[in-house]
Symmetry: C2
Amino acid sequence: MPKSQFSLIPQRFQLHDAPNKDEFGEKFWPYLVIASQLTGILIVALLLIWLISDLGGFGWDGTAAQFNVHPLCMVLGMIFINGEAALSYRIFRNDRKVVIKAVHAILQAITFILIVIGLVAVWQFHNHNKFNNMYSFHSWCGLITVLLFSLQLTIGAVMFIFRITGERIRSYYLKLHVYFGCAIFVMAIATCLLGINEKLFLKYPHSYSNLPSGAAMGNCLGLAILTFGLIVIYMLSSPIYKRKPEPGNYSLSALGGEESEEDPIKDG
Amino acid sequence: MPKSQFSLIPQRFQLHDAPNKDEFGEKFWPYLVIASQLTGILIVALLLIWLISDLGGFGWDGTAAQFNVHPLCMVLGMIFINGEAALSYRIFRNDRKVVIKAVHAILQAITFILIVIGLVAVWQFHNHNKFNNMYSFHSWCGLITVLLFSLQLTIGAVMFIFRITGERIRSYYLKLHVYFGCAIFVMAIATCLLGINEKLFLKYPHSYSNLPSGAAMGNCLGLAILTFGLIVIYMLSSPIYKRKPEPGNYSLSALGGEESEEDPIKDG
């Protein structure tokens, strides 16, 4: 379906191949893409301002400056880049699948590296200051989320890059991959919100209730992360926004439908 | 498709009308139902044990005993009953739609009453003890979640009980209703986790890191809530578990497919 020339979004990102006809949803798509990207940029901006202005910047010396590397890496990785990696299948809906798959895999690998740096930063910080590890609910949720993410990354690589199984098993696994991708993203959001909350109670034990500027900034960062999550999950879960399955490939649905996991030879 | 006689789940709850063929998913359904219900019961049990044994039980006297009414009502309402209300369309998939719609509406009305009691309890507790209101990230998230829930309940009643609009607008709204139902449920989970975290930092400002039994119990309650949420959202979002649309009614999809919003006269 040809689009109006006045569209805010370049032709290649448009939704002219939506498999389920929904005019309202199609018109809404460009605004969702813009909203997701603006909210993502807002998260990164608020995160940097909060960590540099209110929490003292970055370092690697066992002080709070080293601790700050932890939220920097985890929010950048598990929220922003992980969210963009998931969205890449939707936003670049009219590009070659094999390219998007590479973008998705590279972004998730970058997320994994950020996770490792972020965890080493907080672990060394705790040990340097003789703080206990792994007591808070944030740390429990974080551990589960990071383990699930690593498992998802490993199985995803084995199934979709090295392709050790047949198409039928891969097709079943794809549904789980999509569901767990969304579930891990949501758990990462919950873990970040818990981490921000924990930081505010530890940093402002007596003054949080008066909402000093650093605490208000932390709350705003949390709201931005929550908003980004709601937009991203809506874009991922709505059936009308899924890629059109290519002919000759099987099609699967999970969380509102996922495109086919086609053969890269056919695809490229 | 006839089911094995050895099924754990009575015939009426079985998935013999799944519109999208998926044998693995069909076999998995009874276990999902059992897991969701056991996790829901676990939440209520852990909540009561935590609030009575570790946090001092209930009252309405401005003390911590009155505060405890707040988590009791919010978790019971926004998590357990709200989750069951959403699941009612899936679990009672072979029953008459008009009955399920009534069950859904009544459960959500009970949730709303619990929300009001829970909010009055904490507001009076704060004012009685001269604590500030609405400073924490938990309170910000909670306010947004409760406002969205109230809006959803109001518009849902206007659209699906009083039916002030035509079928076409109702069909568009249904998709939003299903998405926001899931989104509000997820936000309620995040808010509860933040509330538990906040309570633990306020109750154990110096000893949380040694994980006293009350703190460990709070963490476990949080994990149970998170697990319940992941199971419920999986059951709601998987297209194969949606109700089969009835003939002559329009069918819609959101978050993996929602059944038709048929006319109650046709239905009953």
